[in-house]
């Protein structure tokens, strides 16, 4: 991790996360109805935002790969989905913990939970597919196609939730027209989203470098075999 910008990102993310933890746990009061468990929203919602940003990034990179055939787009797409997958897992797990306290159950087949889980399964399949293909150009091509299919599907799954009854709390943030959260409580959520986004960027860049290194090793190995 020699890039100074990455160090800067890491430092900013660390400061933001520490400051946010302080605010969330020491300054903000308990929520009126939910008590202290509501604090999970500060990680639950930003994790979902970061995950979807990453999946969308992979969609764009996949289209980029298919038009240019440049391997760095493939590295970006793979790295974004791996990182997004981790954040999607964080989202599912924190949501499940919150549900246990508030609803009394770990899981319910509510539309939004189901669609997030389906999305998680789709990207798990993407990671499986990548592992199953050895030849780099073929892997890049097929996983780019799958990434485009998966994202389209996620949008449809997401749309169909609005037609199914829903148990998940509606939007509470003012940007989504919710307006159910006090401004003082909302600000740390955005800062946390920024911190997690920085963290995701660092992970993504590191993973992209790994991928580039791996490609180089592969090609050197091939050359060695050819000799």
């Amino acid at each position: 991790m020699r890039n100074p910008i990455l160090y800067l990102f890491a430092a900013v993310a660390a400061v933001l996360l520490a400051w946010d933890l302080y605010k969330v746990f020491m300054v903000l009061p308990d929520e009126l109805n939910q008590g202290m468990i509501y604090r999970i929203i500060y990680f639950h919602v930003p994790a979902a935002m970061v995950a979807f940003a990453a999946f969308f990034g992979s969609l764009v990179a996949s289209a980029g790969y298919l038009t240019t055939k440049e391997m760095r787009y493939d590295s970006f797409s793979a790295a974004a989905i791996e990182v997004g997958f981790v954040f999607a897992t964080v989202n599912l797990v924190t949501g499940s913990i919150w549900g246990r306290i508030i609803w009394g159950i770990w899981w319910t087949w509510d539309a939004r939970l189901t669609s997030m889980f389906v999305c998680w399964l789709l990207y798990a399949a993407y990671l499986l597919l990548r592992r199953a293909i050895d030849e780099p150009a073929q892997r890049a091509r097929l996983s780019a196609v799958l990434s485009i299919f998966a994202f389209t599907d996620v949008v449809i799954v997401w749309k169909s939730i609005e037609w199914w009854r829903t148990q998940h709390p509606g939007p509470v943030l003012s940007i989504r027209g919710g307006g159910g959260m006090a401004p003082g409580m909302q600000a740390p959520l955005y800062w946390n989203a920024l911190a997690l986004a920085l963290l995701a960027t660092i992970l993504l860049v590191l993973r992209m470098r790994q991928e580039a290194a791996r490609r180089e090793i592969d090609s050197l190995r091939r050359q060695a075999y050819a000799l």
């Binding site: 298919l66 597919l129 485009i148 599907d153």
Partner: protein, 226 residues
């Protein structure tokens, strides 16, 4: 028409070779029967229960048994390098994809057409009360299975773990279509009409079909050739 002809040729070639051996059809149909039998142990098949879960049961049977058909679609072309020959022939990727999808579609519809009456006999369900709309559900949802399944079997045909990869990719991707098909089949087998608020499931099915057919046609060349 110029676009369709090669696709129809490929579809008829596939269907002819399938009807000569009937290997996939037989396997898929006996698998469907086995699942129908297993489900009778999963719950007590009385008439109230059937009304509630008929759609889910039927579409689970179709989704699982269709994986056998979809897997074979391209795998059949692997021996003797038939797939490479098809790709090298003056047929575009989109035409090849459409032909394969059509052949799979016909086979899926056949398995469904045979399994549905068998389901009716085994579970004592009167499924024919709303035959027209029910057929429409089958026609639309089978196309969703065919188009998604053909695309993903094209993606996985050259992999070592072909048979393992297809279900992992296919079933999560089919969730919206299966959800709509189950909802509508439940309604129609219970003898209800599709009300205004349930029309949305038909639209979801039709939209799913249209979007993924277009996406499949657009990306087929990339998948086959690169």
């Amino acid at each position: 028409m110029k676009f369709l002809r090669p696709a129809l040729l490929i579809a008829s070639k596939d269907l002819r070779s399938e009807f000569r051996t009937k290997e996939t059809l037989n396997a898929s149909f006996s698998f469907a029967l086995a699942i129908l039998v297993l489900f009778s142990f999963a719950f007590d098949p009385d008439s109230d229960m059937i009304r509630q879960i008929a759609g889910g049961l039927l579409w689970m049977v179709f989704a699982f048994s269709s994986a056998l058909i979809l897997n074979r679609g391209f795998a059949r072309e692997v021996p003797n390098d038939c797939l490479d020959t098809l790709i090298a022939s003056p047929v575009s990727g989109a035409q090849l994809f459409l032909g394969k999808t059509l052949a799979n579609y016909v086979l899926l519809l056949l398995v469904e057409a045979v399994s549905l009456p068998v389901f009716g006999v085994f579970y004592n369900a009167n499924w024919a009360r709303r035959l027209g709309p029910l057929m429409l559900v089958f026609v639309l949802a089978a196309w969703a299975l065919a188009v998604m399944g053909t695309m993903f079997s094209a993606l996985t045909v050259n992999l070592r773990l072909r048979e393992l990869m297809l279900p992992a990719l296919l079933y999560p991707a089919l969730v919206p279509a299966l959800m709509a098909a189950i909802q509508l089949t439940n309604l129609l087998i219970a003898g209800d009409t599709v009300g205004k608020e349930d029309q949305i499931w038909f639209r979801l099915l039709a939209g799913f079909d249209a979007i993924f057919t277009l996406l499949g046609l657009a990306l087929a060349e990339t998948v086959f050739v690169g």
